[in-house]
Amino acid sequence: MQTGWSNATVREIFPAMWDGFLVVLQVTLVAGVIAVVLGLLVAVGERNGPAWLRRPLSGAFQFIRNTPLLVQVLIVWTATSLYVNPDWSAFAVGSAVLGVHYASYTSETYRAGIDAIPKGQWEAATALNLPTRRVWGAVVLPQMARRSAAAVGNWIIAMFKEVPTLFVIGVMEMIAEARAFQGQHYTGAVEGYTIAGLLFLAASYPVAVAMRRLEIRLAKSHY
């Protein structure tokens, strides 16, 4: 039974924790791309999609937004491994679920960003007879991007910190690595979880500060 902090254990467990940390970064990258892109598609779809699509889309994402990521991960993992393809990796399925879950948040941010664009901008685009693609590409999205950039960045940071949830389906991130180490050596709970927390802190704090700066700068650039 472990009694306290041990530097020897830290040296032993750190390489495994570092591997776990790299997995967390990889998941964040994949899921982040999904969250950023899918969120935008959902926000635009909820607003300007075909009428038959709007309500089901907004209902589905409202459901995703208000139910726990953990259960979503479990249900999708069960479904894919039982009924779709048991060979799909936990990494792929976990990243996809995490990305879609956070797309349900980012879509709200994008929506708020689109709603905040003055009505005159839409009217001017209509008056200029711009085609729909140009209205979105040249008028709406660039303005929306500036308003939502910092908030979306904050969601990505939040997502980064929720990656450990994926250990339940066997993604070898830091919690899974710490548990594997404990299973082999009967020690390392204190060191493993402390290292995991500190790595998260060291990675997310500077980014969070940068996002706060960006938020202030972009807020100043509004007119």
Partner: protein, 240 residues
Amino acid sequence: MDFEAVIESLPRYGEPLLVTVGVTAASAALALVLAFALGLMTASRRLAVRAPARVFVEFFRGSSVVVQLFWFAYAMPVVLGVQFDHLIAAGVIALGLNYGAYCSEVVRGAIAAVPQGQLEASVALNLTPLQRMRLVVLPQAWPEMIPSLCAFAIMLLKASALVSVIGILDITWLAGLIGKQPGQDRLLHYAVVLVIYFVLAWLIWTGMRALERRAKRGLGVDARPAKGRLAPAVAAGGAR
């Protein structure tokens, strides 16, 4: 798919549902107390008061809630040499501290948003600092906090599912357990649990909207809360 087996086992969700609600309510209470304490401290002008609160908040926001949960459940007992009689305490502490840190920013922001003239007037009336806070600042800041606190309450409800991984018998845990039994469909049980969480989230949201309306009316403002969408109202910069 065997719907009958699922329907027959629904009563078994009763007790775990109380656990889920209990964990959420207890950690929300802890988070609320902490949010006000830390929010008032980080709004303080004195560095000696502000700095420790700031460090605490950044620390708990910066390190993942999942990691904190495991830390409080498995590392803290070793470090402090204590044993939890009920692991549920570790879950409540981890969730309460984490969400307390997030919500303290809501409290601080709402206090900072009270118009300066209100403070000047309360100084002119010779109110003590305590009276100023209790009679002038908080009654005006409170309605502003409610939508954000509501969003965090729903986030907390969702995070409470995590306590199942440290072996607390909540509805997520039960779905996994029953789902493994013969003749049961695990997918259906997880779906049932998702619906339960959604209904609970909706209840929190409805309750908070009623609370917001009442708090605003208390100020003589009959503003209806922002139009109804079950969404994190603090999306812009809420959970960073």
